[in-house]
Symmetry: C3
Subunit: 261 residues, 3 copies
């Protein structure tokens, strides 16, 4: 046992892995920490499609609760960088979230009753020469370093109301005559189509239709036959459409998905 | 010198880098370790083509012996996730390997005489609510955390015979009238075609033919001319076909490769 | 505060993320360090286009000064691997750079007056069996491990003159009748076109033309309209051409860019 394990900093960005941006953000955090213990960096993804705040918000929802208490999530998908959009620090009972106020934290706000929101004061943290286009390096990295140093946040943030935070609209399942029409929230790397129907919505049995054709609701990918379109509850508790050993998005595009009771 | 360097956990998956899967597996390991020392994570690759167990097995063969003693290799390319396929812990003199029983560890078994095999008991490690489709997070990550805590494995594994493990078939060079016809085992990121002919097979001189045309056997890429098809022993001791400053797979596809004495 | 934070090793290669090469280089460093403290690895990029030394040199220029003092930069874009090209250790006041002598460190040499250059002696570090094609694993990784152990470099390097190092040619802005014609040095992941015009070149006001059509010079991406071609000084202090929420390289290709006073 060690008394002080390093803190965890989890990164979620649209910087991609071709350029230096993600590495430089980490470098800057370490540079600011010089003399203090370094954190453990975990990359959640840097391959969010450029400026796709919605995808980042979902991916964060799918991930944050699996990290150790005290984890700092640095989330930078930031089409409004350098404009008047606010920079945020959001604290829940267990975690801290740092990033722009553009809806990235929509699900964190929904799922945590006790969160507190703070605006990061740019004028306190941006030091000359700073860039108007790379707040990841020049604003958010110094903020994360200050959190890691456990310095009082009062000097560089101000309390704001949670109600004032920008939130994104994620569609609910739409009631139709026989049941619900679902939306596809996310397509993962395997090509599985992840919908907005949560396992916890009902305990009643139901049937799943893809482009009006019924598909089997199974437990796991291996329960389907090669090439068969199947439905199952995936790792995030959401109903998904998959094709074993193949890619549903490639074979089906974005099909109509409905359920009926 | 430090008395207790962190243990190394090396990851090899087909999760890709677009989604959260690889990051969440690490998060879950750290969450389970809360209060214990954290490991050093090294990503071997997360870009194994989806469900390509053969490629993962080769990549592991090319890599494991360069890691420090005590390294835990977490390997998840798992088309059978959630079915009856067994979850494995394989221990060699120097290393531990964790992953599904689907042939991923074919070369580890071949190259280590003294390995011991254990089945990871799902009923001991899967804790509610768990997913049938993401054993990386819900089964293998907790297993790795238990290994890192150095807890007795008897409580959550049972000994199994090595002979019962699934192994993949990798073709040997095929004898033909004048010598051998080779297979291409692996195409790397530079487009080099890596064959199944090992440097240690012979000390006799031999000639190499690509689509029946002889090519020069050289020492290193720089020994070839721009655009010349060359053969050389690559970094894994296997004969490979390359084109300096170009991509052999793009120029040649998958050609016939033979050697003769 | 901790007395001895880990040293930072930053990696910049063209190995890609599909293969095992980057992971194996890290594994080998850790293997050589067995018993010594491990470093903190930061990936700058492994997605340099194969053998694109120029792009790597620029990316290194954009990054190195944001890392903590003492950082070791391991840079491997190495078309000449296994030939007579020298292996280098370059030390500046704050940093160490390790990699082949092929121009990778062009900007480090330009920007540091006090750097010292050393040739890494292959015969001292390559241990049998080594590969002629993977010096990242067999030569540079052991060199980095020796640096991390703080062992005297005299045993495995020799001083060489900085003037003898290979340097790359990066074009300066070209004077034309009305001002300057710029070159595009770098295209980033967002598709922004980064030119060779530095913010520090002038304080005089100037106008920017893309394919002879004037574009607005703004402060940040959000100052442009959807679809508008804009110019701004990017995060590295270089003039760049961008299209808000879109990709300039996709819309414009590599246009003619000029400025006039």
């Amino acid at each position: 046992m060690q008394s002080n394990p390093p803190k965890v900093v989890t990164l979620l960005t649209d910087f991609g892995l071709k350029d230096h941006y993600a590495g430089v953000v980490k470098g800057r955090i370490l540079q600011e920490l010089y003399g203090y213990p370094y954190p453990l960096f975990i990359d959640l993804s840097h391959e969010i499609p450029p400026q796709d705040v919605k995808k980042a918000a979902l991916l964060l929802k799918f991930s944050y609760k699996y990290f150790p208490e005290g984890t700092i999530f640095l989330c930078i998908v930031d089409p409004g960088v350098g404009t008047e959009r606010r920079a945020l620090l959001l604290k829940t009972e267990k975690f801290s979230f740092v990033g722009p106020d553009n809806g990235l934290f929509t699900f964190i706000l929904r799922e945590s009753q006790t969160s507190e929101a703070f605006e990061i004061l740019k004028e306190k943290l941006l030091s000359f020469p700073y860039s108007a286009t790379f707040h990841g390096r020049d604003l958010f990295a110094p903020a994360v370093a200050l959190l890691l140093k456990s310095e009082s946040i009062e000097d560089w943030t101000r309390v704001i109301s949670k109600e004032s935070l920008l939130q994104l609209d994620f569609p609910e399942p739409e009631p139709v005559s026989s049941g619900f029409r679902l939306s596809i929230w996310y397509v993962d790397h395997f090509g599985n189509l992840i919908t907005n129907w949560e396992k916890t919505f009902t305990e009643r049995p139901f049937r799943v239709f893809v482009n009006k054709k019924e598909v089997r609701l199974v437990k796991t990918y291996g329960d389907g036959k090669e090439g068969e379109v199947i439905a199952l509850f995936g790792s995030e508790g959401l109903l998904e459409i998959a094709i074993p050993n193949s890619s549903a998005i490639q074979k089906l595009g974005l099909p109509e998905i409905t359920i009926s009771f």
